[in-house]
């Protein structure tokens, strides 16, 4: 089957769904399940659209890397939507567009087409965050997002006028011929910032606090895991294939990313609200993922994205549900949350420990492997900063965990639906299994590292 269906079918479904509003969410389930099946069946390589060969028309690029991304995004949307069917039933059409937008973002091989999908998914994200009922924060998100994508557009237009093509593979070849990196600094900076806004890298991400800090069981995991992982994959594609940072630009980007990790963890340390702690940890993880891509550690960055998406889904959902029932997200007022919810507590603990990178959980395997590769690359100072940040991270997470486990005074009552527990338990089990049994992770290693090869074969 053609990979273009991954975008076309959700779009078709979205257009149809406004005629049958009530069934839009079921249409979404059908489409995501279809998409997941389609990911396995889709042929790899360059997919032509409109019958015009690549530099002329738009084309899609399907490889193992993008398939992993598609699988993750579609499955997560399905799970999150299914768990929120009761609480947020009206978002079927928007979620269909989210699926189309993010799939397009991951698949497209055309810079301007990428911008279009960036806008589709961006606007869909604004609408998702509208469910927070905090229009001001959403408005800020919208303005910053619009600025970010404008910067991206400016960068890509400069690239077009320099190299005369919009096709990514073509562009990479042209750039390789040019070999004057000095000239590329301006467009790359603009594009990196544009992507950085959406991927919530540190200095460009002030929208995150308002958005995730007031998120609910729906918008929290959508933004923190679905969007974050899609943007992570996209950022990886751009950084490893197109940007190939060099010289001063590389230094500045590295500094930004390392500072992003350290400062975000410190900010989380200074937070007293549970959602803020989670969101700052997400920001740190986003910077970490970008940092790995900059250093060319693709495979472990991919795993980090997946593990982070799974854990953050669980964590945001648990905390946001509790916040909804209790009415406050201060850690203090959520004390003893798990005393009554043992299963939820264990799952949350597993997810947190995985994010912290403690052994027996998949986060540890990932952390150790990418640190080893960083050491191979001679980045001992980066390692030192990452690890120092991980001390801060460890402390605030342990504080949070212990507060949530041990009640003080009155027990609070939060009820989690059985479906929540079931899905979360599966995720926790996955984190645990792959933490202990890592052979399959190594196996995938060889197939993903071939992102570059597709480019060379054109």
């Amino acid at each position: 089957m053609s990979a273009v269906l991954l975008i076309a079918i959700p779009l078709l479904a979205a257009f149809i769904s406004i005629l049958f509003k009530k069934y839009s969410i079921y249409l979404l389930f059908a489409v995501t399940i279809f998409n997941i099946a389609n990911v396995f069946l889709a042929t790899e390589g360059i997919i032509i659209i409109g019958g015009f060969s690549p530099p002329l028309g738009i084309s899609l690029l399907v490889d193992t890397y993008s398939k992993i991304a598609l699988l993750l995004v579609n499955a997560l949307v399905l799970v999150i939507a299914a768990l929120n069917v009761k609480a947020y039933p009206k978002y079927g059409t928007i979620l269909l567009l989210v699926v189309a937008g993010l799939n397009g973002l991951v698949l497209t091989n055309d810079l301007f087409n990428f911008f279009v999908f960036l806008e589709i998914s961006g606007i869909a994200a604004y609408l998702i965050t509208a469910s927070n009922k905090k229009p001001i924060t959403t408005f800020r998100y919208l303005v910053i997002g619009a600025i970010g994508s404008s910067l991206f557009l400016l960068g890509l237009i400069i690239l077009y006028s320099m190299f005369g093509t919009l096709n990514m593979v073509d562009m990479i070849k042209e750039i390789a011929l040019n070999n004057n990196y000095q000239e590329l600094v301006l467009p790359f900076t603009l594009m990196f910032i544009g992507l950085g806004v959406e991927a919530k890298l540190l200095p460009f991400n002030s929208w995150v606090k308002g958005i995730l800090g007031h998120s609910n069981t729906f918008s929290g995991p959508m933004i923190a895991s679905v969007y974050a992982s899609a943007m992570g994959f996209v950022l990886g594609r751009f950084i490893t294939n197109l940007f190939n940072f060099e010289g001063m630009l590389l230094t500045v980007v590295l500094v930004i990313l390392v500072a992003g990790i350290v400062l975000s963890d410190i900010m989380a340390f200074a937070s007293k609200k549970s959602r803020e702690i989670l969101l700052f940890s997400s920001v740190a993880q986003a910077s970490m993922i970008a940092l790995l891509f900059v250093n060319g550690i693709i495979i472990w960055a991919v795993y980090l994205i997946i593990a982070n998406a799974l854990s953050k889904t669980v964590m945001f959902m648990i905390i946001n549900k509790a916040q909804k029932d209790v009415g406050s997200d201060e850690v203090k007022s959520l004390q003893g949350l798990f005393a009554n919810n043992l299963v939820i507590g264990i799952i949350f603990t597993i997810a947190t420990l995985s994010v912290m990178g403690l052994p027996l959980l998949v986060g540890f395997t990932i952390k150790l492997n990418f640190l080893t590769e960083l050491a191979d690359a001679g980045q001992i100072w980066t390692i030192a900063f990452i690890l120092i940040a991980s001390v801060v991270e460890g402390i605030y997470f342990v504080k949070l965990l212990l507060k949530l486990w041990y009640p003080e005074g009155n027990l609070i009552k939060v009820n989690y639906h059985l479906s929540f527990k079931l899905v979360f338990a599966i995720i926790a089990l996955a984190l645990l299994t792959f933490g202990v049994y890592q052979a399959p992770l190594d196996k995938l290693d060889n197939t993903v590292d071939t992102v570059m090869e597709v480019v060379n074969n054109g």
Binding site: E119, F139, L142, I147, S150, L153, I157
Partner: protein, 111 residues
């Protein structure tokens, strides 16, 4: 020169967003930014000898056209800008309905 004016329009839009606290003014600034960007996009395809890329017959040879691609792109960019602006205005309106104000400073505490 027009190209440079477009860039200045772009940064003027950024400046507008930087200084304004009023949601509507911000959206206006955003539009100024986008217009600057659109003019810039068009400008990179311009050629002093070029004519509009519409053929009167297939056999027109030897004519120089301006680059048609940026024009196509700008069409898309404009529509996207319209969409963003519409949504932004809708949010501004719902902020107004909630706080009776367009000025973000007025509701700083409510966050």
């Amino acid at each position: 020169m027009i190209q440079y004016a477009a860039i200045l329009l772009f940064v003027l839009g950024l400046y507008g967003i930087f200084i304004s606290t009023n949601t509507i003014k911000m959206l206006v600034s955003l539009n100024i930014l986008e217009i600057g960007l659109n003019i810039f996009i068009i400008s990179i395809g311009f050629n002093y000898q070029g004519i509009a890329p519409i053929l009167s017959s297939v056999s027109d040879t030897g004519l120089i056209y301006v680059d048609p691609l940026p024009q196509a792109l700008v069409l898309t960019a404009i529509v996207i800008g319209v969409g963003t602006t519409a949504l932004g205005l809708a949010f501004a309106k719902s902020i107004y309905q909630k706080y009776q104000s367009f000025d973000l400073n007025d509701m700083e505490e409510s966050l």
